[in-house]
């Protein structure tokens, strides 16, 4: 029903906010900046501590918990890189392949599903939409065991199929919802014009909706990448062969909660495994903010 509401243009919210803010006095502004900077420093401290610890000899990490290393060493990186007998680059590549395929799968399937919910009319649409939204609230652990049994019975354990194939079936309800919201904001007259020019439903999607959806697609792509890259439980259950480990599973191999954990190498490899996320975020930041500002998820 909501899809049939009159279309509206994207409101220039940013301009509306600019007025009152510019009247804020200088000292107050300074103070606000100071608060934000302090809060930021507190938030980034654990990250800086991890990087600093990666550059310290292992014995110094907890004995000298300050940020600046007394002795500077790259040793943690070299021991960590080969700690599992397989170079860590393999795990990064594995993680990257899974993340890349997941991004493609999510963009493809979620955008199609979102288009159907936002623009097409079909029976039980409202019920199906509500069901789809309800799956957001379903904890992952509920479906864990049945899912494992399913993939086990078709002999997909120890392969990447259980991790990437579902992404092609639009299982991430959050992204569908996000894209539906975005598509609802696009003027319907564009669809109508394309239909007059001879486009079918798929043509409208492909030629009109998809190109206009780029901000929403960017958000979905970035979040999919980050979540897949960080995913621990999925690869933990399905991947047991060491050569197929993803980065988080490989990092776990440094941990020995019943004995002595190799903190130094673990911090070193954790630092490296954060780099791709950092880079993705750095380059995609603009799209991310644009996407969030225009999808009604403020």
């Amino acid at each position: 029903m909501t899809a049939l509401l009159p279309t509206r243009r994207i409101r220039p919210d940013v301009d509306a906010d600019a007025g009152p803010r510019s009247r804020t006095s200088r000292p107050v502004k300074l103070l606000l900046h100071l608060v934000v900077i302090t809060a930021g420093a507190v938030m980034i401290y654990p990250l800086l501590w991890m990087i600093a610890s990666a550059l310290k000899p292992e014995a110094e990490i907890f004995a000298e918990p300050g940020l600046w290393p007394n002795t500077f060493t790259w040793e943690n990186f070299s021991t960590g890189w080969m700690a599992l007998g397989i170079p860590f680059s393999t795990f990064f590549l594995n993680s990257f392949v899974i993340a890349a395929i997941s991004v493609v799968g999510n963009l493809f399937s979620c955008s199609l599903a979102a288009y159907a919910f936002a623009r097409l009319d079909f029976r039980f649409k409202k019920t199906l939409f509500a069901t789809m939204l309800a799956t957001i609230m379903l904890p992952f652990h509920v479906t864990l065991v049945p899912q494992y049994i399913l993939f086990q019975s078709i002999d997909w354990t120890n392969t990447y199929f259980p991790l990437v194939v579902p992404k092609f079936l639009a299982v991430d309800a959050f992204f569908i919802f996000l894209m539906v919201q975005f598509i609802r904001g696009l003027p319907r007259s564009l669809d109508d014009a394309a239909t007059v020019d001879g486009c079918g439903p798929f043509g409208v999607f492909w030629r009109v909706i998809l190109p206009l959806m780029r901000p929403a697609l960017a958000v979905a792509a970035i979040f999919t990448f980050i979540w897949t890259w960080n995913d621990f439980l999925g690869p933990l259950l399905y991947i047991t062969d060491r050569a197929l480990y993803t980065a988080p599973i490989a990092l776990n191999a440094f941990l020995d909660s019943t004995g002595a954990t190799s903190w130094g190498p673990m911090f070193a490899m954790s630092t490296l495994s954060l780099l791709p996320l950092f880079l993705v975020f750095l380059f995609a930041q603009k799209h991310l903010i644009k996407g969030i500002a225009t999808t009604g998820l403020k």
Binding site: E58, A59, I61, F62, A63, A83, L84, G85, L93, N94, V97, I98, A100, I101, V104, F108, L144, V145, Y148, I149, Q152, D155, W156, T157, N158, T159, Y160, F161, V164, W206, L210, P211, L212, R214, F232, L233, L236, L237, I239, T240, D241, R242, A243, L244, I249, N252, A253, F254, L255, D256, S257, T258, G259, A260, T261, S262, W263
Partner: protein, 440 residues
Amino acid sequence: MTSSFSRRSFLGLSAAGAMFGISSCAGFSGGGGGNSDGDRSGGSASLDVSWWGDASRAALYDEALDLFGETHSDVTITSQFADLDPYLERLATTAAAGSLPDVLWMRDTHIGRYAAAGSLLDLSPYLDEVIGTSALGDAGVASGTVGDGVFALPTHYVGQAILTNDDLLAAKGIDPNGLVTWTDLADAATASADGAAGIWGLQDATLDTTHRHLEAFIRQSGGELFTEGGGLGADPALLEEWFEYWKSLRDAGVVPPADTTTEANATGWSGDLLTVGKSTIRLASTNHFKIVQDLTDAKIGLHSVPAAAGSTNDWWFFPPILLSVAAETGSPDAAAALMDFFINDTDAAAITRLNQGAPSSAAVRESLIPLLNEEETAFVDQISIEMEYPSRPFPIRPEGAEQFNSALTRTGEEIAYNQRSVSEAVATLVSEAHGYLPEA
């Protein structure tokens, strides 16, 4: 709005992504190694072996598995590992799916549950036929016995101990060998605590994640933590006495306050107060001795757990590190042979050494001695000596034992953070335990 996101480039991108992934990654080769459905043509067997731990343990156990492969060329072996918590999570999921690894290391805290659920193979037919148990003794077999079946056997034992920083104790003129009773321990801790130097006398055992020393304390009084039927066996008065003991030391500034302990515990052994020279005594497992000694230059001492005045003399117990076979394994004979290898083979032990504790077989322990350094010998001797003492049976952990274990930690925290009095906290612990432990 023109778009560079054309259909051609989109299709090209997805195709390239898929091709790249599938061609370069073994992860898409299908089938997967390891599980019970592996290639078994020509009567050969395949075993998937699983343990908890880190990459360094994996390197040792893979080497041992290679050795087993040399004499069992018909057996294809794959292995998997993860740190303890993820390991248990994976175990729970694969057990629910009926696809446990063929041979798996099992916690003594979980054996009761997995055996009762029918996930593990009853090893009784293999005992003494394939798996030699003569060096394990009746107690060894008993530690894996659930109901009428034997579902696991110990490969290693760990024990309870106290670790001392002998340098700090010597500076205060305290003899670490004199810590015979819990009162001795409290006195030595009080005398060695040095607030000005930032040194604590004793570390808080009530905030640990396991509570074996409390169990020792209860067994010393003649009681048991759990009854034969799996119910709560501990006398509430005794639980109060235990928490009161630690509370008074904490209040006196001998044991660090709760936040100091919590912070130190989060860093594991590398940041442990004993390791970094900020405490003189702590309770630990016997096998932690070598870990701590390797991490510090100070002289660390290893001693038996103190006993209560008027203690029973048969309270000694050794939590086993267990090895099990999955009920649904396709190669039970090979799995049993591998179990025997890990329990009785001295060449395997020469590779894995003391990585998981002291070997359960007295013969294997004996064979290792010439290979060990001073600390390792001290550790093995300590366990061997204590195992000579009389010890009454150690009941199998009932279902709900893990929950009770976490409840003990929570109770310790409530008391340490002064949220509740000892008697209140213990009363809650006991009344809640009656809810999830069977009545017996």
